[in-house]
Amino acid sequence: MTRRRDLLRYGAAALLAGCSPRGGERRVDRIRLWVGPNAAEESFWKVAVARWNEAGRGLPVTFTTIPTAGNSEDTVLSALIAGTEPDLSTNIFSGFAVQLATLGQVEDLAAMPGYDALVERRRMRAIVPGWTQDGRVHALPIYSSPTLLWWRADLLEANGLSAPPRTYDEVYAFSQRYGGARGRSRYGMQVIAGRAWQDRWFDFISFYYAAADGRPYLDGGHALYANAAGLQVATFIDRMFRARWTAMDFDAEEPLVSGLAAGAVRGPWDVERFANLYPDTLARIAVGPMVAATPSQEPAATFSDSKGVVIFRNSRVKRQAFDFLAWVLGDEAMNLLWLEKTGLSPARADLLENPRFAGYYRTSAIGRAYAEHVASARPPALSEHTIDVQKIMSAQLIEPLMTGQRSPRAALADAAARTDRMLEAQG
């Protein structure tokens, strides 16, 4: 009987131990790191972590990819609740970092010893303002992926353009020739990226940054985009739809491959996708800046789809974790390795001037175009209400412009007013 009771007791203890947070098991003899769940990033971290551990510069690092089947944010959140989060995690977008900071779960990296030296060494002075909120930096950008316009160079040439369009008027003129040639069966460019809230980063916000020279579209509790730049973008979108120079969606196929659309907003992550799936098309792509009413100073501002790295509050090796971070982000050799392994530009402003990286960009015209825009690309607004802000943008601005239900000016004013009301209500 006693043995049976003991068995029950041990069984229950084992069950509860499995369910309980493992905060008490936090290691102080090593740094645990989670990295983005893709083969390219994993191959970089494998080398970087091995070099760090071999050199014996500090606490040894162990890493694993974020154990997710869906998206990283859900997994990081679950781990935080269960107390099983690592010391460091990459693949964190700036809006999520702000949410984690609001919940008190991540460290202010700007307060870490050696932060200023890292920013200087990595040439990030022009980049970190976009990641700074009230003087605090909750995530440091690892890479910066500007959005740019891809154009089919052969289709541009066939219609009298030797270089990608830079202004709305050039897009209108090209679309008139290209779309008008065979009725409505092909379009000048894909203007709207999709229906989801995150698609606004790849259409309105990208165009807005280009029109506004990188000025923000949101400032704390207020929408700032109901201005001249916002109106220019809204008018451009409206005109493209009214003239049927673009389609409501391009879900059926990759429009650049068939020539259904001659231009579309694409990021550097698309280079590898096209290289694998559509190498012939990739060879005919010319990359141009985000178009605006008037050509802006080079390089034009645009949106940057960046992911950063955070240090969690409950880590017991924060200082040591930052030392590792400072080494891996600040070391030029590591930055070059990142570039070679992932094809994504490290978030540093000297990519084209620094001879260490010049060799890589000499061989890749598309990569060079993205590297040129790293310093002028802006991250999303640092808001924990990103999803609501961009859902309002979709429903009150983009969709009415697509269907022609509202004028650009009215849609813009309505979207901004609703955003303000929502932010005020959320406090």
């Binding site: 069966s185 989801a196 389609a247 391009f250 879900d251 059926a252 969709e399």
Partner: protein, 296 residues
């Protein structure tokens, strides 16, 4: 269960019974009762994952009932059902009557209908996304034939119709088999007697077949209501809830509120309201349409 006569504890039979029941009770306690009580606790507290829940009474409920996005998603359930129910019933009856006409290979045909039901919602949503695209094959064919493109996923009403069509494609075969099982139980003598009374095909359908199928049709109605309240994958992938939140469903709003806005207390209240709403609708449907079928 019984105590042993000597007062030394449970009999062997009682221990075995308790052990068998205990496994189920433990499973229920861990995976049903605990989440349920945690949900109930969350709904009357303010909690943001890492702090201690603070009791706030009915504040979450008031907030939920004043949330235009949530109320809009409830209305979207009604709009979805307006499209889905005719498709589900019409399709199910067609499948059932069609199966009656199939001679050899009936089991194979039935299996084919079930395949759509077990296929991945993600995969079929991606296929239909391409079909319904404004530049997709359906619109290209329409454009070539009559010069018209239909904004299947970009018009509030058409987008809901498109989602109802996709969901119907997935479930109609399954519903059809349920109705077909009902058809098999209708006694042939009833039809023979009706023919002797000179009842035509329509009269036989309306006076015999449909009343006799009431239990199966009620089952289909109940399943359809539950599908409507549980809808997530198809609208999430095909329309993203747009245009203008016209296809946003309660499950999408709950997911976004809990895991994107990081407001689990608010989401918990929403899920309780949704559970109650689906229960009330099922009860109402049964009260209105359920008939007791008795062959006197």
């Amino acid at each position: 269960m019984r105590w042993t006569g000597n007062g030394r504890g449970l009999s062997r039979e009682a221990i075995v019974g308790l052990a068998l029941a205990g496994a189920y009770l433990l499973f229920t306690a861990v995976f049903w009762a605990y989440p349920f009580f945690w949900l109930a606790k969350l709904s009357v507290t303010q909690w943001r994952f890492f702090d201690q829940p603070v009791f706030t009474g009915a504040r979450n409920l008031v907030r939920t009932m004043q949330d235009p996005q949530f109320l809009g998603s409830l209305w979207n359930v009604v709009r979805f059902l307006a499209f889905y129910l005719p498709l589900a019933f019409g399709g199910a009856l067609l499948v059932a009557f069609g199966l009656q006409q199939v001679g050899r290979g009936r089991a194979f045909v039935a299996l084919c209908f079930l395949l759509s039901n077990v296929s991945s919602g993600v995969a079929l949503s991606l296929v239909f996304l391409k079909i319904f695209s404004s530049t997709g094959p359906l619109n290209n064919a329409l454009d070539a034939a009559i010069g018209v493109r239909i904004p299947w996923t970009n018009h509030p009403t058409l987008a809901m119709l498109a989602i109802a069509l996709v969901v119907a494609w997935k479930f109609v075969g399954y519903y059809g088999l349920i109705v077909y099982s009902g058809l098999l139980t209708v006694p042939r003598e009833l039809y023979d007697a009706a023919r002797l009374d000179h009842a035509g095909p329509l009269t036989r359908l309306l006076r015999i077949t449909m009343p006799m199928l009431n239990p199966q049709l009620m089952m289909v109605l109940t399943f359809a209501i539950l599908v409507a309240f549980g809808l997530f994958t198809e609208p999430y992938l095909i329309t993203g809830g747009g245009p203008a939140d016209s296809t946003a469903t309660p499950q999408m709003i709950i997911y976004e509120t809990a895991f994107r806005r990081l407001q689990p207390s608010h989401a918990a209240t929403m899920s309780i309201v949704i559970s109650l709403a689906s229960y009330v609708l099922v009860v109402l449907a049964r009260r209105l349409f359920e008939k007791k079928v008795v062959i006197a």
